[in-house]
């Protein structure tokens, strides 16, 4: 279940004279930039409540856009290796109302965290592969969290990351988790999880 919150206007100024940057430019550039992977999904699906679309409607009421145009715009137009005809062909597949929509909460995509870990006082590179995991709550609704799906590093085997000792800590650590918006914060809160000790509860089902 989601609660929809409309984008609100937010503006403040400590000292308003002698502006170095034009607030209008700052606002527009920010409003039209893709903010997060969720924002990308919402734009791809042409969700009308997407803040960027609301901004366009409020400021450019005559501007018309459809899903094909928006999907086309999501590609990096500055990347010369991308063929505009192929992008156009791809975007055309999503013109109809019944066309596939992508959902942040659904499985089928993952996130890779490039990490530095300290082992015996030496820093080593390590990749964590993260997936969104669903949890059935007592209320009957479904909650979501980020979980570690796999660990990749030349010096570690995936099975090694789950020791037998971990099983005793499952319930003790069950209140600690990576909340479903952690990705928007660049998984900043993963440090807290590691400080508290790694257990099975952080791994995807």
């Amino acid at each position: 279940m989601k609660l929809s919150v409309l984008a609100s206007l937010f503006s403040f100024s400590l000292i308003s004279n002698a502006q170095q940057l034009q607030t209008a430019d700052l606002t527009e550039n920010f409003a039209l930039s893709v903010q997060t992977i969720d924002d990308f999904c919402d734009r791809f699906n042409l969700e009308p409540k997407t803040p960027a679309f609301q901004y366009l409607q409020e400021n450019y009421p005559d501007f018309k856009f459809d899903r094909k145009t928006i999907i086309f715009s999501l590609f990096d137009q500055g990347n010369r290796s991308l063929d505009a005809n192929i992008i156009n062909e791809f975007a055309t597949q999503f013109e109809s109302d019944s066309a596939t929509k992508i959902r942040f909460e659904l499985p089928g995509w993952y996130s890779v965290l490039h990490c530095l870990v300290k082992i015996k006082n030496k820093l080593h590179k390590l990749d964590l592969i993260m997936e969104i995991d669903s949890v059935h709550l007592r209320s009957g609704s479904i909650g979501y969290k980020w979980s570690i799906r796999s660990v990749k590093a030349p010096y570690i085997h995936t099975q090694d990351s789950l020791s037998k000792k971990d099983s005793t800590a499952i319930y003790k650590a069950s209140s600690d988790f990576l909340h479903p918006m952690s990705h928007a914060l660049n998984f900043l809160n993963i440090k807290n999880i590691f400080r508290k000790g790694m257990t099975r509860s952080y791994f995807a089902k």
Binding site: L9, S11, Q20, T23, T27, F30, D39, L188
Partner: protein, 91 residues
């Protein structure tokens, strides 16, 4: 730390707020993102400026409260971690 005679902080008049998603603890998690420009002045000349994009986690905690015998669901709103996504230096 640099001392400025005057600072100007402007935020974009647009805040990106993501729909809230429920976590495994029953609370709802969302984010708000905004862009902020900073300019520091000394002797009326801009000495330093940057544009920073910040993201803040917002947590909604539902709770029940009995008012005149009727149970009503209310919400506490908390701000969580703040992440700096990018800093573009002007000078």
């Amino acid at each position: 730390m640099m001392n400025y005679e005057k600072v100007v902080i402007e935020a974009a008049a647009f805040t990106y707020v993501r729909s809230f998603v429920q976590g495994p603890d029953g609370n709802y998690y969302g984010i708000a993102r905004f862009r902020q420009s900073f300019t520091g002045y000394r002797e009326n000349k801009p000495l330093y400026s940057d544009v920073t994009t910040k993201t803040v986690a917002v947590v909604l905690k539902p709770y029940q409260k009995a008012i005149e015998g009727e149970s009503i669901e209310l919400w506490d709103v908390f701000l969580g971690d703040i992440s700096v996504q990018s800093i573009d230096k002007g000078k």
